[in-house]
Amino acid sequence: MPSRTGAGSGRSLPEFGLLLLVIFVLLEGSLLPLGAASSTSKSCEEAKQGHTEVHNFTKKAFPVLGVDYGHIKNPFEISLWVLLACLMKLGFHLIPRLSSIVPESCLLIVVGLLVGGLIKLAREEVPPVLDSKFFFLYLLPPIILDAGYFLPIRPFMENLGTILMFAVIGTLWNAFFIGGLLYGICQISNSDLTAIGILPCLLFGSIISAVDPVAVLAVFEEIHINELLHILVFGESLLNDAVTVVLYHLFEEFSVDGSVTVLDGILGVISFLVVALGGVLFGAMYGFLAALTSRFTSHTRVIEPLFAFLYSYMAYLSAEVFHLSGIMALIACGAVMRPYIEANISHKSHTTIKYFLKMLSSVSETLIFIFLGVATVDGRHSWNWIFVTMSVVLCLVARVIGVVGLTFIINKFRIVKLTTKDQFIIAYGGLRGAIAFSLGFLLKEDHFHMRDMFLTAIITVIFFTVFVQGMTIKPLVELLAVKKKQEAKRSINEEIHTQFLDHLLTGIEDICGHYGHHHWKDKLNRFNKKYVKKFLIVSERSKEPQLIAFYHKMEMKQAIQLVESGGGSKLPSAVPSTVSMQNIQPKNPPATTKPAERVLPQLSKGREEEIRKILRSNLQRTRQRLHSYNRHTLVADPYEDGFSDLILKKQRMMIKEMTNYLTVPAAAPDSPTMVRARLASDPQSYNMKPVSGGVPTIQVDLASPQSPDSVRLLDELGEADGKEQEKDQGLTMKLPGGSSRPNKPGETENTREQQKLTRCLSDPGPTAELKELLCVVGEV
């Protein structure tokens, strides 16, 4: 992009037009299958406009069309880059084989190289896209927040000791080993390298030694190794930020002065503790604030996700103000606020947070790799064979020795030991990435005259780890037959037994008088339940035991799955609701024999909740196409927050008042919502089939020709036996003649004898209450 102001003056327009053309051609090249030809013609047009405008100047006519690029330059460039990143991501997945051999990160770096090369060819200045400020402030936080929010807490905490060992001691070892040996090598070599002092070397070591979370995430995501290894490497990459920050600042400060004393060393250690714990503290504080705020958002559901994002970002920025570890602040914030926020916010907000985080982090990651490629092309390089190759070699060697040595010590304390295979993967998975590059970029030129050489070496190491290690780790994992991630979803059995074992082991520890792992975990949980949850979670939900919450989530998931799979014919026998609903069934035999009178059997609140949830999840599908013009409120979802209770009660009362033989003209009873729902959905496809537990009782019977529009709702209670009829037809209307029309749920009772009831689902179980609710629901 031209760095000239280009304020719409006629001079730079032709060149600018050409550049636009180049960029668009580039886009087009990668978008060939998607046919981006239109954009090219647009740019030609713009260029032409520019030309005509130039000509128009002499005539001094009123400019009908003007081009003013400088006005929107920055947003335009940013959007163009982001668009490029996303298109690249799209493109890779269109080429199936490529994406399975080469990890995405490599491809993106290559693209970056190409783009950088192209821009350089056009002899434009490559903008400093990987500006460290831009990177640390805007590109890095989304990725880290995504990682922190979705961090699997249990494995992380269980392995915390191991992770900390690797992160702190491993990184320290790496930094000193690499720095020290490089210094030695520099001294030995007889070139101008001897000028490099020990401190710059150590600084370089500390920059290059940190395992990078972005790179690790990008590569490990695709290889699906077992959870333990994943959390070890990934946790290490997150927690070593504190060490890196301290070492970097320490060495940078003292490189200027030229010497380090013991006092500085001690201060460094203290500084490390402050940085790490301070970061976590900031994060936890903001996390609690976010959780507390979410307690009160029940009336403004629309902005709920924003709180999660804003508080986390503030945590990061606040930590950075004090030079604390921003990454640890982000992780702590995300991990702390998650359980409380999830208990408080609506289902939709939860989905929003999840997808927004994923989207942001995905785009960030893509951009980072592309920029890495661009910056490589652009940067001034000073290649020094010895330095660069030795740094690569030393990185590998240091990592291997570090991992092996630490594992030896760690295995003495672990119950599940780390095998050689595990150690190999941990060592091999130590990828370096953009953080190292940015830190190197931050070095001031005047203090470090060998900055260019450092940058070259850093880039080489990054390229090596990402390309070589990234590409080969997948086949190696296969070759070594490393245990893969278990795809099995967590079952309720597992959940119960996990809790059971927790209690058991806590009890045994208490008997032994041993204040171990479980003891403290139990204490924390108890404290959490007693005080914290009450404070941070909306009142009724705070008392729900974890097991029940888990169970509800499972039920909901299964109901949704059932809905999505069409749920038509048979309920799979594993659906527990039917089992327990059959338990309720025996209570209500009288209901089926009294067609004239609707007796509403008593439903336990829990059962009702579940039914409502199932129905809600089904009905949400039809609501999807409702227009949401109003930015301030979402379409009031009648099934949330007790609104449903009111509606249901109202409806029930209305039904009770109705008498038999009530026929209502078709148009009248439809509430606006119903009309919308009907209009929004295709009448042909609108069938209530997907209701999992419920039986659509709505069989509409077109009356005699006198009132062709009248619609009668047949009450299923009239049916004596549970025979299934017309299984998969959903709601159909039956003319006396037998033709059918798409349903129009009306609201009447009809007690004619030969009412045939249409059932969606074959199971005879679903009780009268469900039918009741369904009729009622049809009204809303």
Partner: protein, 190 residues
Amino acid sequence: MGSRASTLLREEEIEEIKKETGFSHSQITRLYSRFTSLDKGENGTLSREDFQRIPELAINPLGDRIINAFFPEGEDQVNFRGFMRTLAHFRPIEDNEKNKNPTASEPLNSRSNKLLFAFRLYDLDRDDKISRDELLQVLRMMVGVNISDEQLGSIADRTIQEADTNGDSCISFQEFIKASLVEKLCETCF
């Protein structure tokens, strides 16, 4: 505690316990001091009340069952031997033990014994099956009093449904191992 020298552990006893349970010398002595501190009656055995005096155990949902696990069938007192025998289930499995004595009976902390111990905590009537009622009892203990019976019932039903492969609506030991991945959990916890 000098007057209690007579009740101190003798070397031979330590050796025997070591052989039986696999604990090390220092572990045994430490656990013995714990045993004596719990034994308020100073008669060399523990009763149920002694266990119940431990405050954290009182609030543990499974407290009663764990205590029961220490006492063999029908007895009310447990001596140090029995105490150690039960605790031996919780010793981590060490690889170097595997090859030592192939002819000896299976060590107390072998995987299957651990699993059997966990299973027995559910299965009170020792019929080698976890019935719906037994499961309900455990769930009720873990979940508290606010949840309705019906909800708990449906959770229990679902649990049994997931685990039950032979259709007898009870969970046998084999099904227990497979369904709850207890094996995997035992590895990490025990």
